[in-house]
Symmetry: C2
Subunit: 244 residues, 2 copies
């Protein structure tokens, strides 16, 4: 399983992804799910992936390979929208190839889904959610974040706190809380985490870190959040359920 969240905010973009992949419960590995393509001063594109790992890796490899070709590629597209189209097409190409090789009898799900965010000079930063069918939607100020993978456990806190005006450091903090709730409930989402912050018109990461499980800020945040939730519940009025 996987959990990735990305936000498009007034100040820029936030990306966070876990690194755990598993086939069953005993074949667990660590793989990077966040990939950044960069042309200093000109463009920065970050892709996060969930779903079939072979498909995700093939898509990323093809995208990398084609940068040095005459085909449309992530360095030649003139907008994030075109980059999203390219991702969708490349994904369909890989899934089609693997489905036809595997044959109809195969029960394997070759699909994956992706988040694409970044900025191409001349545009504002944009964020897209690319579905497993290859079509996609764009984040707006009313819906400033996307999740892929195991998204439900970590959604309530984002819905209550996050808005388009949230600052990048606060949004990063919220992402960590959202990850903590997810990892507490789903063993197949696991540390370390990759985090990247992008500030408008920076065309390079404003902050980038691989967060290990023993990171002191993350550890302290988890401790305060857990205590805070318990204290909050304890402070709230109890229902009147009559005589005991």
């Amino acid at each position: 399983m996987t959990y990735c969240v990305a936000m498009r905010l007034a100040d820029g973009l936030v990306f966070a992804s876990d690194t755990r992949t598993n086939a069953g419960f005993d074949q667990i590995s660590t793989f990077r799910k966040m990939h950044t393509f960069q042309q200093p001063g000109e463009r920065l594109l970050t892709i996060m992936t969930a779903g079939n790992l072979a498909t995700s890796q093939s898509v990323i490899s093809l995208l990398e390979k084609r940068i040095h070709s005459d085909q449309p590629n992530l360095m030649s597209v003139v907008s994030l929208f075109e980059a999203a189209e390219l991702l969708g097409e490349t994904m369909r190409e890989v899934v089609r190839r693997d489905n036809s090789t595997a044959g109809e009898a195969s029960q394997v799900d070759f699909t994956c889904s992706m988040i694409l965010g970044g900025q191409v000079r001349g545009e504002v930063p944009k964020l897209y959610h690319i579905y497993q069918e290859g079509n996609f939607i764009e984040a707006t100020p009313e819906t400033p974040y996307f999740q892929i993978g195991e998204s439900k456990y970590g959604k309530p806190v984002l819905d209550r706190v996050l808005s388009f005006e949230t600052t990048l450091d606060r949004a990063y903090q919220c992402a960590l809380i959202s990850f903590d709730s997810t990892m507490k409930s789903n063993l197949s989402v696991g540390m370390p985490m990759d985090v990247m912050l992008y500030r408008n018109d920076g065309f390079e990461p404003a902050y980038k870190v691989r967060l290990e499980a023993d990171d002191s800020y993350y550890t302290e945040l988890r401790r305060q959040w857990n205590k805070g939730i318990r204290d909050l519940v304890a402070s709230m009025p109890l229902p009147d359920i009559g005589a005991h």
Copy 2:
């Protein structure tokens, strides 16, 4: 969709269920998903259902009908374990019947899952989760609650706060918070809610209510929780992401 949660605690049992059923987004109805079978002073059994509504209703109707027959039934079984077996068997019977009538071409999922809790005189209270296959597991002090239906959004708060020693009024409060998180994220879980508390050796409900959306306690709890979460996030340390 559905959300039901039940808890087996040191003092007794807590049951809560929503009442929304839907086929698509425009065919929405209200149905009771909590059913109580009672023999004053002798036994109390409460069943909550999720999944195919036709199956759930058939199972409940058959269980009711057979109470007045010579067949093993909810009033004749000598333990909650036997009652759970009976539920599992009745569920399999209905699914088998509907599957064979519908034929192989049917795409309909006839399965449902259930929670059964209560007490038969001579035993301590017990709580079972009956899977769609008809097999089941029992709640223990280490795992004092079960959920069926749309369970993920409302799980983190239960995992952080609930323990076997939690009092019934506090557990009821936690259930409401868990429902609020779920209903905020999934439109197909909706008010009103049915809630029932059972105190050990009571053999009748200790508290029972149909909670409407405008219930004053629930409204105040939601308001305080929403504000509390936002205040908690705001009070926590921000990460150092370097120069702005």
